[in-house]
Amino acid sequence: MTPHLGTFILRRAVSAIVLVLVVSSAAVILARLAPGDHLSEFELTPAQIAAERHRLGLDAPLYVQYFGWLRRVARFDLGESTRYPGRKVSDLIAERIGNTAMLGLAALVLATALGIPLGVLSATNRRGPLALTTRVVSIVLLALPPVILSLGLLFLASTTGWFPVGGLPSSGGAEATLRHLVLPVLALGLPVAATLERLQSRAMGDALRHPSVQAARARGIPQRRVVWSHALRLSLTPVLAVYGVIAATLISGSFAVEYVMTWPGLGRLLYDGLIARDANVVAGCAATGAAVLATGILLADVALAAADPRVAGQR
């Protein structure tokens, strides 16, 4: 590890922590500022509401509530949910985060496994039938965001009955889970695969024109090795550079997929918290989501720096 890489990772880690801190603070403040709270739904006397608000500390000034939340979070206590009375927010999140992580990781793997090789192939053989098909399919998929694709796949599934429609079975073991995972993963992963394919195709085209690749070819190295070893390594830098953005794209997209396909994930929990004015759930989900996002960005940055050490020196 070069000294550059060490400071680079340290600096990115600090900005990751700042990200989590700012997002969760914003969520706490925004959730408290929202008009009404979970009590406005019930028919209670003003005195009862006041007593309940006092018990939950909702009558304290905003900054007191905020610092109280921070103090509790430092002890890994995210508070109690009001939407799900008597449940601890940390338990709720623990139940859901696995589902979201499973969905997001599977979609990421699918997108990478499809996008990168197809991008390479479509760049090296521009006029072949495979390249043309890939390009057209990618452009169509780029016009289908997860929310539209989920609805479309749901329609397809309910017409053909090939795959179960939405939800996650509580029983049935791994096989049932996998079967229910297929549609959400396709809806989330395919648009990302198209993005990666287009990017990789462009980067590969540029890499093939790079002098070092031309030189490798001139030395008589077989075309296959030139493409898959020399040019691929060059072309990965611009593609790895977007993986941080893709982490955010997956988290964004997974909300729509979770909602439309009734997948019990973190996004749906956050949404329910927002609607039910459950400030602790909102803040807890936002903090967890931000932590996941920050980790994703950090990993992408480190991978980028490993592939292209110049990056670490620049920033």
Binding site: A26, I148, L151, S158, V242
Partner: protein
Amino acid sequence: MSGNRLIGAALLAGLIVAAVFAPALTPHGPLSQFTDFENAPPMRPHIIAADGTVVWPYVRPLKLIDRLERRFEATGDEVPIRLFKDGVLLSIDESRGPWFPLGTDPLGRDAFSRLLFGARLSLSVAFVASLGALLIGVAVGGVAGFAGGRPETILMAIADFVLVLPAIYVVLALRAAMPLVLSVPQVFWTLSVVLAAAGWPLVARGVRGIIAAERRKEYVEAAYSMGAAPSRILLRHLVPACTGFLLSIETMLVPAFVISEGTLTLVGLGFPVPSASWGAMLRDAWQGAAFSDAPWLMAPAAAVAVTVLVMQLLGSRDAAETVSPRQTV
């Protein structure tokens, strides 16, 4: 103009015409309900008569056979399509049965009429929001690129921060901080502001880069030497230099915002019942869960996809290939 852009421009013009002239293009209002025609299938025009000859396009009106099963049958009637009757481009004599070119939704409303009237809400909110994002982005990016130094560092740190966040959650959180039930105009302006607030950083980054590069050029120096004020240089010389970038970023913001409107309305935080927007139509179709019986209810999904495609055709090839709309929102 390349071929792609020409096609894109023509299709965009078509979308705008469909939205603007919706009342003259649709046979029914977006809200009128036909209780005898719930989930009625599309009624396409025919041009071949029963005896095999080619005739003026006509429609076969439907008749309800079974309300529970929502089964319909074409009556033997052949009702010719009329041109420009009662201020509507295409219509039929409705005394012999209503015409639903794209079928009806589970509440018996004409899907075609709702689709075109929905284009008004969905497209206009996206355009207004994208103008807002451009305005904020140019202001922030312009000041940052022109001033340099500490203001630049701070403004760009904020932009970068908003940029890495998953935009739909920013939009959700901002929207949910407002009262949950709002009227249509209130929703329109709320969504415009919220989407602009989530979309400006991308604009600001590009504008800052362009202006930081342009302000060192000779024509700017010439303007200074002629005694132009900094504000004049920024507004008259530097901001116009960003025009090309702003147009290409507009083709990314609009589809992203159309998708956001769809998502927000689908989850119940956008336009309220019974107004017609593409998101509202998707919500009704999704909640009705009548997918397999009523594929025509997917029309708004196709409309969203076409809008994204149109804007990709219009946008520069580089932009369309490097940043997908979901990355902006």
